[in-house]
């Protein structure tokens, strides 16, 4: 899976309270959640990136609450992939489970400027910066998780597995 989109750069320790503030937790519709993505720090985030975006973040992305609403909101707001130096564990699992690619790449923050055009190869673990021409290489997403992503998330993946049994 190769994804191409512009980068939005964020810092370290972006928490799920800013990704999706608590006051929207009574929402369950992905599109409605997406409208409020990142509202805590970047109001109007969703409307800015209608043609897709790759979040490039520092350490511990998605720390805090287990609210899957955060990952759902990002995906619905047009985030195609999150590349971070590291992820908080619950967010990482949530992202993969709902079919939002999450790629860990130490050192990525220094190699990307906000709005750079990126090409992310999940299978190879390569992030190509189309502005600078530089390629960052990291541990690819493990094959079994890649299958979950290719199927569109853990639910579709389990259904597919069940159908093949």
């Amino acid at each position: 899976m190769i994804l191409k989109a512009r980068a939005v750069k964020l810092g370290n320790n972006v928490d799920t309270d800013v990704i999706l503030p608590g006051k929207y937790l009574a929402l369950t519709d992905p599109a409605e959640l997406g409208n409020h993505a990142m509202e805590g720090v970047s109001p109007g985030f969703a409307s800015k990136f209608t043609d897709g975006v790759v979040i490039v973040a520092g350490e511990n992305f998605g720390q805090g609450s287990s609210r899957e609403h955060a990952a759902i909101a990002l995906k619905a707001a047009g985030v195609r992939c999150v590349v971070a130096e590291s992820f908080a564990r619950i967010f990482y699992r949530n992202a993969i489970n709902i079919g939002l690619p999450a790629l860990e790449c130490p050192g990525i923050l220094a190699q990307v400027t906000d709005r750079d055009e990126l090409s992310v190869d999940l299978e190879r673990g390569q992030i190509k910066n189309l502005r600078t021409g530089a390629t960052a290489t990291t541990e690819p997403i493990p094959l079994d998780l890649l299958q979950v992503l290719n199927d569109g998330g853990i639910i579709e993946h389990l259904k597919k597995k069940r159908a093949h049994r």
Binding site: N13, D15, D17, V18, P21, G22, K23, L25, A26, L27, T28, G40, V41, E59, N60, Q63, G64, S65, S66, R67, E68, H69, A71, I72, S86, A88, R89, I90, R93, N94, N97, I98, G153, I154, I155, E156, L158, K159
Partner: protein, 418 residues
């Protein structure tokens, strides 16, 4: 093996496990609440399964919208009631029956030493206080657990936190965990387990241990855990007292690292905005006026916490410019506090006492902060916008510090008042 490895080995029917290995563990209890539950049910419906793997292992607790403040929240709870009925789930705690999930789970007998427990809430790690391996997961993952009763885990490396010495008066386990967060940072235990050992932990009440384990997630930990002992047995009742003597860590257990702390050197700690690891001892705090003080949450809303606050507030008044909100963690805690006369003392001092629930800590129901508000809170997170406006400031501290600060109208060392 250490206690975490032992529990995961047993739950995955292996002789031995090592950090880094992926195991599939049998789940003893799976908990959802009124915020993560609806998404879990939504995902569950997509799976098109008829029945959850074991309705007696699924626990449903309403606590975030308690009672519902909006039609939207009420509708989510209504939908959840339908799921509970349809699935024949008996462990269901509706409005007025339970309270904050992490208090209700052990109170109502859903936690035992050695269990592997998952909850669709990040503070599920609280049950480590009872020697269980418990961790937070997302809603969709929970739907998968509902279908299979199993879940994969990477066996974590473990950080041992050995705490000796005894706490000075008015210094609490909350101050210890804030101090640990200052040392580790918010991602210092990411993907790892944290085991709390040492005399100070052995001497600690179950309530204090729950506070410790509860905030292990604030360092990113998969779980925090304390080996079960006679106090655990006493809390849980005689039925389970003899079943967990083999759970504790072996003498030759391996740890990624060990942190030694002398509890007697600790003073009350404060986490400043906007991160739980932005911690300093209270002596170093500049003068900080507060608009609101909050005593409650799954971290510090237990009888012991309200008792300490009541002792400080007894015969005193909450400062004119400050509002004190007190939220007992559960119905049982509420009743215990009523019996002890604590609610009388707190309300007499000018505190408003709410029904149990999570709403204030997470900024969704009552006590919401306005732009520019400053709050000192006994809860667990002070992220931007956590309790309301992104322009509000949240300081985290112990129940003793919250009570002392409410009286003074500024962040105050409880040792000066108690």
């Amino acid at each position: 093996m250490n206690i975490i490895e032992k529990i995961l080995a047993k739950a995955s029917r292996r002789e031995e496990v090592r950090p880094g290995e992926i195991v599939e563990a049998e789940i003893k209890s799976a908990m959802i609440h009124d915020i993560t539950g609806p998404i879990a049910v939504q995902s569950w419906r997509k799976l098109e399964e008829a029945k959850v793997w074991d309705p007696d292992r699924v626990v449903v607790i309403f606590d975030h919208f308690l009672p519902p403040p909006t039609e939207q929240a009420a509708s989510l709870q209504k939908m959840m009631r339908g799921f509970v009925d349809e699935q024949g789930i008996r462990s269901f705690y509706d409005v007025g029956r339970g309270g904050i999930c992490h208090q209700v789970m052990p109170e109502k007998g859903h936690v035992h030493p050695g269990d592997v427990i998952v909850g669709a809430d990040s503070h599920t790690c609280t049950y480590g206080a009872f020697g269980a391996f418990s961790t937070g997961i997302g809603s969709t993952e929970m739907a998968a657990v509902f279908a299979t009763g199993r879940l994969w885990f990477k066996v974590p490396r473990t950080i041992k936190i050995n705490v000796n010495g005894s706490f000075a008066p008015s210094v609490m386990s909350k101050d210890l965990i804030l101090h640990i967060l200052a040392k580790l940072g918010v991602s210092g235990a990411n993907y790892r387990g944290m085991e709390f050992t040492g005399q100070a932990v052995e001497d600690m009440s179950i309530s204090g241990r729950m506070t410790l384990c509860n905030m292990s997630i604030e360092a990113g930990a998969k779980t925090g855990i304390v080996a079960p002992d006679t106090k655990t047995a006493e809390y849980l009742g005689a039925s389970s007292s003899n079943s967990f003597h083999d759970i504790g860590s072996d003498e030759d257990s391996k740890y990624e690292r060990t942190i030694q702390i002398d509890a007697s050197t600790l003073s009350p700690q404060v986490a400043r905005p906007h991160s739980p690891d932005n911690v300093i001892p209270i002596e170093e705090m500049p003068e900080t006026r507060i608009d609101q003080a909050f005593l409650g949450s799954c971290t510090n809303g237990r009888t012991e916490d309200l008792r300490i606050a009541a002792r400080i507030l007894d015969g005193r008044k909450v400062h004119n410019c400050t509002r004190l909100i007190v939220t007992p963690a559960s119905q049982d805690v509420y009743r215990e506090c009523l019996r002890e006369g604590l609610i009388e003392i707190l309300t007499e001092s000018g505190a408003v006492v709410t029904n149990p629930g999570c709403g204030i800590c997470i900024g969704i129901h009552m006590g919401i902060l306005a732009p520019g508000d400053v709050c000192v809170s006994s809860s667990n997170r002070n992220f931007i916008g956590r309790m309301g406006s992104p322009q509000a400031k949240i300081f985290l501290a112990s129940p003793a510090t919250v009570a002392a600060s409410a009286i003074a109208g500024r962040i105050t060392d409880p040792r000066k008042l108690s």
